[in-house]
Amino acid sequence: MTEPILPDDMANSLIDGTVEASSVPTEFRGVAELFAVAHQPAADGELAGMAAALEMFSAAVTGAAAAPATTATSSNVISLFGSRITKRAAIIVGSTLLIAGTAAAAAGGAIPTPFFSSAKDTSTSVTSASVVVTESSVATTQSSVESTEVETTLESELVAEDSALCTATTSSASPAPSSTPNSAATTGSVDDKLSSDASKHGKSVSDFCTEVEHQAEASGVTVSSVDDHGSGTDTGSSVDTGSGKTGSGKGGSKDTTSSVAGTGTTVATGSDTVDSSGSHKKP
């Protein structure tokens, strides 16, 4: 017995019920009848309980729509967060993330320049340090260092200046042949300043000079040279206070260079140098 072969379109029509049973091959007429019966509309029993099913369906649909809002409220999330992670742990985690992020950004050059240096320094000690070095703290530290330098500089400067004044006064005690009225006036001002400095310390000029010279010797301040020849030119000789670098305007620092030029009557304090002729020159 050969098995009947059904073309695809015939099979599909048979299954879809879109062909009359009388028009299909005899072998498949029973199948066509059977499929037609299976396609019958719903019987009453098949739709029983429809009202209850629809109620359940509608409730489930609306419940499913409202489910995300009821299961993930913010208060629930916060309470869950609070119960499992303490604030301290959160702060530590947040700080670590902040530092690591800043370091990573600094390494990549993705942060503004003012923050770059401090972030770069921080990046070297991310694993151990938990203190963020800010620009303001760096500036404060820098200014305090500068003020210390300035105090040291001023003390040394005063010693050097007074030492120079004492030296000049001693020199002026034996007048040089080339001394001029201008130089005498200048010597007078030197004496006034020296006496005022001595009176500030409650000592006489001679005692003050003796003490200053002792301090100058103790601090290593030396008067390198004193031009007594009265050449009228600033030889640039200076008293090096040995205090190292001085600031150029930062923190009110002063030029520690004190020069004695000409006939030894010129004392330069600060940035201006006054030579024996009374003219001002920039050092």
């Binding site: 498949f28 499913a64 729509a65």
Partner: protein, 213 residues
């Protein structure tokens, strides 16, 4: 070999749910509209029950309820047309069926012996006995006859094609098979079903003849 039959088309069945009205019905059903849900229920519930009752008659109604609940919960995420919707629904139904069979003691499907239909319901009138019996069947009887006459895979393919009105591609999707496998299985099922029906009608007619003699 089958000759070239003349296909006489029948007018298409027009129901409350078709491809044109489905998007609107689906949109309203998503908002919990019971009228739209009723349209879906009228269209799908008989198909579901016939499919489930042919496999697990005792728990078919409960399984159908579970399918509707799953549909309601997943309705907002569904995207597709009417065929895709039916395919989705029958996919859920098959999973519920599999869950039931996996977790519970498997109950017999109470398969109906095709011989019973023809021996009990044949009225002894002349002509094609099988046809006269089938004409008096209910839809569920016809589905049960299909299911009991075929191996499980072939029956499932035919039921999804007939009851679910799914095309070959959607059946392949539901069964997680290739369309070619579905097409081949469908041909085998049709041949086997036709053979079974013809054998039974012949036996029935022969029994009637012997009784007459």
């Amino acid at each position: 070999m089958v000759g070239s039959p003349i296909l006489v088309p029948v007018p298409p069945r027009t129901g409350p749910l078709d491809d044109s009205s489905f998007p609107d019905v689906l949109a309203r059903a998503r908002t919990g509209d019971q009228a739209a849900a009723a349209v879906l229920f009228t269209d799908l519930q008989p198909r579901l029950l016939r499919f489930l009752r042919s496999a697990e008659p005792r728990v078919a109604d409960d399984l159908a309820s579970e399918v509707w609940l799953a549909m309601a919960q997943g309705l907002g995420r569904f995207e597709g047309d009417l065929s895709g919707f039916r395919s989705w629904v029958f996919t859920i139904a098959r999973r519920r069926l599999a869950d039931h069979r996996r977790t519970a003691i498997r109950r017999g499907t109470d398969p109906v012996d095709p011989h019973e239909y023809f021996s009990d319901r044949a009225d002894g009138e002349g002509g094609d006995a099988s046809t006269s019996v089938i004409e008096r069947m209910s839809a569920q009887d016809a589905v049960n006859l299909i299911s009991s006459s075929l191996p499980a895979e072939q029956a499932e393919v035919l039921l999804l094609r007939v009851i679910g009105e799914l095309d070959v591609a959607h059946v392949a999707e539901v069964l997680d098979r290739t369309p070619n496998w579905v097409r081949v299985t469908q041909h085998r099922a049709l041949r086997r079903l036709a053979q079974k029906l013809n054998e039974n009608s012949t036996e029935s007619v022969m029994t009637d003849d012997s009784e007459t003699i």
